[in-house]
Subunit: 144 residues, 2 copies
Amino acid sequence: MATTKADGKAQAKTEYNAFLAVCPSRQLLDRISDKWVVLILCALGGDTPEPLGAPHTPKAMRYSELARLLTGVSQKMLTQTLRALERDGLLTRTVTPTVPVTVTYELTDLGHSLHHLTRDLRQWAQTHMDAVLTHRESHDARTS
Amino acid sequence: MATTKADGKAQAKTEYNAFLAVCPSRQLLDRISDKWVVLILCALGGDTPEPLGAPHTPKAMRYSELARLLTGVSQKMLTQTLRALERDGLLTRTVTPTVPVTVTYELTDLGHSLHHLTRDLRQWAQTHMDAVLTHRESHDARTS
DNA sequence: CTGTATCCACTGCGATACTG
DNA sequence: CAGTATCGCAGTGGATACAG
């Protein structure tokens, strides 16, 4: 990524700056474009749409809560993603030295601002799922 | 991923339906959460922020144009992503049988609605990049 | 409870070469 | 120009076991 001295032809590859490549947004985009990131932000943002007897609107969550909520995520991915988000200042990690140690995660203001977007994303997905599925079917049918 | 016959305990793995997992939105979320998808949508949406003498506000783009704009993308990924987006009805693929065949891609209404979100995403990334980088540095410094 | 570390399988993805 | 097909590596990510 770094611009080397001799960047003649290699320029196109080493620093693909076209469009929004070398632009800082590109790096964040890669981070945001992560399945678990979106889900964690939604969870910590209190989106949990659980129709069943779920508390709803929780902001701070414990590690085990997240693990339970995001079924299917391995602890490796969960920890890894949480660490990355903490590093970027999107959420805070608070360790309470109780008997069995307690760790809670909470969105920062920055995290909240991004949460609005992931929330819209989730909402869009739900709203237009039918249209997509329908189009997908007809497209597959067309594909002999 | 397919639900096997004996899915007793394996249930947690085969169908991670908690939160928004089994929910249709989950599938679309996976698709949206793709680096190239976001970039293609931004490109076709006319976001190209090229400060240099670039046309700007183009809606329909040719294959080669996209390939040139999204420097760093392999034709495999570009084609693959375009196909997927076409299948989902987010964009249309028009083949004009000229001498050297011409293929243009254009967002559908559905694609445009999603483009608004990817546009916000890109904007957010650009706006808050500094904050993230700053926090990342101080965090790394703290990490002895 | 909340992780960290290791192993390992899968496949995403780039590079390359070939077709219409 | 606009793809498709094949190969092969490397990173992603799951399962398991261990630690503070």
